[in-house]
């Protein structure tokens, strides 16, 4: 038995995962655009996103959730983000899974109430109830709204700034620094995986016996582990060399502008409208 280089499961998984990580985690293409959300201080953005999230999560009124979702889509548009890209990014995975989770809640077995539709599946008589439907819709909309707010925050803010903004919530400096370093070196290790994979591909030709393929993958995992271990020692030396003495001091240069406070006021008004008037 053999697998063909260029069309096997491991290869597709590696290249797919690398491409996904590079595109979704490491690109700051949207964060560097000149749009609405990009112009706001990251700390303020974190706080206001939290406020929108809480409004969407604490309400039992689906109209409020829809209203917050519409607001997030308007912000997306004003932040110069392609709506098609944004919808694809936010609807795939988590909201779809939540849809599956919500399906049982539609039926009278879990949510009794007024029937709006009924049908038989494999002899099982199922009734879709009104409270079941509204409960499931509320759940799915909450999930999609929350995911949209978080995705909007993450793609309009440079990763490093989001991390630094965490300091606002008294996250210790050492954690902020370790998160930052993880982010930095995961990229480097992804590149190492990519290069190792290319090096293997350039030498093995088109077909490899599946057993050999397993060995190659195992070797490259071991070599990656060894490289990251060695790098860990070297990075620590580089930190010591520049005066690190066990307690890192992290650079902080955030300054709020009048526009950031206006933004805060705007979000408060949006949330109050949602809670009081809808």
């Amino acid at each position: 038995m053999a697998f063909t280089i260029g069309n096997n499961f491991i290869e597709r998984s590696i290249t797919g995962a690398i491409a996904f990580l590079k595109e979704s985690v490491f690109t700051d293409e949207y964060a560097s655009r000149d749009g609405l959300m990009q112009s706001i201080d990251p700390r303020m953005k974190l706080v206001t996103s939290g406020m929108l999230l809480l409004t969407a999560l604490l309400t039992k009124n689906i109209a409020v959730v829809l209203y917050i979702y519409s607001v997030s889509l308007i912000f997306t548009y004003l932040s110069k983000i392609n709506i098609g890209f944004f919808l694809k990014r936010t609807w795939v995975f988590i909201p779809l899974f939540s849809l599956f989770i919500a399906v049982p809640a539609l039926f009278n077995i879990f949510t009794p109430g007024e029937a709006i539709a009924n049908f038989n599946i494999f002899g099982l008589h199922l009734i879709v109830t009104r409270p079941g439907l509204s409960g499931a819709l509320l759940f799915v909309m909450r999930v999609i709204t929350s995911v949209s707010i978080v995705v909007l925050l993450s793609i309009t803010t440079r990763h490093s700034e989001t991390l630094k903004a965490l300091r606002l919530f008294k996250v210790p400096q050492i954690f902020v620094m370790i998160f930052g370093m993880c982010y930095r070196y995961i990229y480097l290790l992804i590149e190492a995986v990519e290069n190792t994979y290319l090096a293997i591909r350039s030498r093995v030709g088109r077909q490899v016996h599946y057993k050999k393929g397993q060995q190659v993958v195992a070797w490259s995992m071991a070599s990656l582990w060894q490289r990251s271990y060695r790098m860990n020692e070297e990075v620590y030396s580089a930190m010591l060399s520049r005066g690190y003495a066990g307690e890192p001091v992290v650079f902080n240069d955030f300054k709020t502008k009048p526009w950031d406070w206006m933004w805060l006021l705007l979000i408060i008004i949006i949330c109050v409208i949602g809670v009081r008037f809808i």
Binding site: R158, H159, S160, G180, M231, E234, G243, P248, F251
Partner: protein
């Protein structure tokens, strides 16, 4: 006060206690000198530089820096360690190791922040370095988005910002294009003209004459074979050839191919 910055006496070092990396090293480095450490791959250059930066300590023998013996105990004293780190800056061979912060600006400022340097002074130095090295457009970028040459310049900036008396560089021009190499050489010469001691390890004989007034040649037995004025060492072709630093070079002139030692210091050769 003595002008001696580093003095190594009969220093031996091995990795994991069984792989020798330095053997019977005796070396004195004076203030404001430009020293090049040359040798083949794996001859012990990087290990020596790490020892000079107080990152590793000898198995036997002594290392004195600024008149004080340095070892694990002396570095346990925070004020000594901080003072030493202010005086000695090290540019690592792999810039990816040295640039561990999320943005270029944070990386450059990491040293002064840890050493609790004066903020206004640091910002002034940052502006100066950014102008000299042309890093203005890179400050908010992540190091992973930079080219090797840009990374190397940022690594140099992150060392120079603490304004050290001694600058140690491990193969600073490896893999760089000629323009960036030139730029780095100019920066090192400028720093030396300001009274800084510059210690560089390299294989690149093209640059040795410019970045050194003293050269130490490492042999494959992890010993320093010879230390002396760069003008003398670079002319000693048999010595360089014996330690894999020059090679037999074949090329074409006027339609005919001929062979001679690749002797970099003199750019012209007779045929």
């Amino acid at each position: 006060m003595s002008d001696t910055i580093f003095q190594l006496k009969d220093v031996n070092y091995s990795y994991l206690g069984k792989f020798p990396a330095l053997s019977h090293i005796d070396l004195t480095i004076e203030k404001a000198r430009m020293v090049a450490v040359i040798g083949a791959n794996g001859s012990g250059k990087s290990t020596l530089l790490q020892m000079l930066d107080g990152l590793i300590f000898p198995d036997s023998g002594t290392v004195t820096a600024f008149g004080t013996d340095i070892n694990e105990r002396t570095f346990a004293d925070l004020s000594f360690s901080r003072n030493f780190r202010r005086k000695v800056g090290f540019v690592f061979q792999n810039p990816d190791v040295q640039l561990f912060c999320p943005t270029v600006k944070e990386d450059i400022l990491f040293g002064p922040l840890q050493l609790k340097e004066d903020r206004a002074q640091t910002e002034k130095r940052l502006d100066r370095l950014v102008a000299i090295l042309g890093l203005g457009a890179l400050l908010d970028r992540s190091p992973h988005q930079l080219s090797v040459g840009e990374k190397r310049k940022v690594a140099i900036a992150s060392t120079l910002i603490i304004d050290p008396e001694v600058i140690i560089l491990d193969e600073p021009t490896a893999g760089l294009d000629p323009m960036t190499t030139r730029h780095i050489i100019d920066i090192l010469k400028k720093e030396n003209s300001l009274g800084k001691t510059v210690i560089t390890s390299t294989h690149d004989l093209h640059i040795v004459e410019e970045i050194s007034d003293m050269v130490c040649v490492f042999g494959n037995d992890k010993k320093i074979v010879r230390c002396g004025p760069s003008s003398e060492i670079l002319k000693d072709t048999p010595l360089l050839q014996a330690h894999n630093l020059v090679h037999i070079h074949a090329h074409r002139h006027d339609g005919s191919t001929h062979v001679h030692p690749h002797d970099h210091p003199s750019h012209e050769h007779s045929h």
